[in-house]
Homo-oligomer: 403 residues x 2
Amino acid sequence: MEDMQAYSSLYKKELLEGVLPFWMKHSPDKENGGYFTCLGQYGEVFDRDKFLWLQGRQVWTFSMLYDKLGPNEAWKEMAMLGADFLEKHGRDASGNWYFSLTSKGEPLVQPYNIFSDCFAAMGFAALYKISKEQKHADLALTTFENILKRKDNSKGIYNKAYPGTRPLRNFSLPMILCNLSLEMEHILGSEQIEIFAPQVIHDVMEVFYHQESGLILENVAPDGSFVDCFEGRVLNPGHAIESMWFILDLATRMQDKNLQQKAVEIMLQTLEYGWDKQYGGIFYFMDIKGHPPQQLEWDQKLWWVHVEALVALAKGYAATGDERCAAWFGKVHDYTWRKFKDASYGEWFGYLNRKGEVLLPLKGGKWKGCFHIPRALFQVATTLGELPQIEAENNSQIKKSIA
Amino acid sequence: MEDMQAYSSLYKKELLEGVLPFWMKHSPDKENGGYFTCLGQYGEVFDRDKFLWLQGRQVWTFSMLYDKLGPNEAWKEMAMLGADFLEKHGRDASGNWYFSLTSKGEPLVQPYNIFSDCFAAMGFAALYKISKEQKHADLALTTFENILKRKDNSKGIYNKAYPGTRPLRNFSLPMILCNLSLEMEHILGSEQIEIFAPQVIHDVMEVFYHQESGLILENVAPDGSFVDCFEGRVLNPGHAIESMWFILDLATRMQDKNLQQKAVEIMLQTLEYGWDKQYGGIFYFMDIKGHPPQQLEWDQKLWWVHVEALVALAKGYAATGDERCAAWFGKVHDYTWRKFKDASYGEWFGYLNRKGEVLLPLKGGKWKGCFHIPRALFQVATTLGELPQIEAENNSQIKKSIA
């Protein structure tokens, strides 16, 4: 247990000294508002477009840090810089969030992607905690309601599937809703969460869970059954592992020990399956039948996959005291810190090839922003820092086994 | 020159003995019609969905071979197997070609992708040459007319770009039309080609050609100017090189020596730029400003890029006698045959990592079918096999320089 606690200060130090200064320095667009996220190894802005996923997520990160780590006014200003830009430019006439904008805020790509909405809701919900401005709560709430309205056909007119031939449900939205519901609890109210949580838990742990393999599928038939096609066969170990810490948070919130245990088992099973035995690291995509996946980037090692696994393992350990979580944490920690962290110029690399060599030297891009790394560093630092307290709540048998 | 000719028989032998038997044996769906294209290393069918690009292309390949290499009835049957399936199941009510179907022919993915139409037109046009059935010519022609109608907004309702903010033209369609127009000449008539060709040549050689770098851009502003965004910066060396042999074919058809020379210069410039100096092979995607491309597969080595480069170099050499083409041909030939060809089980691998190791062991999939490899083997064998004859047409100065 003491070993695990020792990681806490390391993660907090990296958050405050290695990662946040990079974004504070390089990402603000002081001219137009919002953030630059396409940042090269040294922080240079190599593209000025604004991708809504990353704008909303960065609002969330700085709001959350202000809320949890203390009132640093620069963090609040940073959150407001993105929020004001989003409020002004982010939505179409129906309140759907665009996918991307120019640096000045002109719409570039239509709202075909509901995750723009998810991360906008998440950002404004967190901001409301520190701004106390009603308009921020309202924006989060109307966006959340719109997500629920769109959720059964989230791509809308951009859906290219021919209706009826092979209906599939995708894992991403149920997964995000597990996290978003808790992020919205102060706005939605506890009663709403208690109605909502069992539904999303059911989706993740029953519908997308594949009994036979013990793994989570990315796409299933509406009844949850396996479909033997590229989409049906694909596994995304990072998604599955990340979702297990969302489930652990819900299980803690619902005080459900069985659910905690089940989430830990799926997480460990996925890690065993997704770990690259030859070169280390977790694969990006796999095919459950061992066929060639359609994703050419299948064997790459991505930052978010690895840091989300660290969060999941820390939370799994805190919840259950399972020593397998501690052992895996050490293994993933060693790989991740050695390969992804850029000791010279701050922040972490995002994309490695199978062998763990840097594939793209960027620190941020169209999909990597100020989110997974700082959130994971914060989550691990906090989870492991609070271990004795969590520990005291566990029963004495578990205590003995992890002593 | 004799060195170059020696390749001809090697390419023809590989076509007839290494590649065609693999597709003849493993790809026919005798139950439903059409072809299986998702074939593992040994030819095993790992997915049964039917992707229209590849169905149309395989109809083309076997029709073309029957037409050019002699009346092998098995080839004609193979072409008809796909054509009948396509005719029966391939189109929506407006005559647009779906992107994919189930093995039985039920529509899976809507006609969002105009290249399904391009390859259907190409397939039926080639088939008409050997079947002489009017319905095949009619299908090719109505499809071609539909492509021209859709060409300025080929994605139609599936276009996610917000209108007006940053209009971009994409290179793929003009490029394909260079090839398709010649493939359709026996149906469209020579006069039509003489009107059409200068337009598509202008698109490729003026609009998408980037003067400053001597390279072809994938996306440009409507006036052909450079746009500094991910799409505007991306280079696809394989596309650019392949398009140069389409241009060479048009230049030969139009008897335009200057155009031949210009195409060879662009081809060689692209090879110099796109060749991986460290590990060999041609990169899949690059950024013209040297920034990280958004395509995670940017450094992979793909079969079609390499075999299309061989065709372009063979044709470039035949057209101009430029020794640089011969030297590059040897270099690309060595890499390609050593890395892609599967000497044990027939056909060629499609996807290698940067270092030239097999990334996916498949011989066919969602994007790789019976097309680029056999077409390239045929084109190189024919082009280099006819060298003396071509040579005789060249002026004596070039003759001397390549002696």
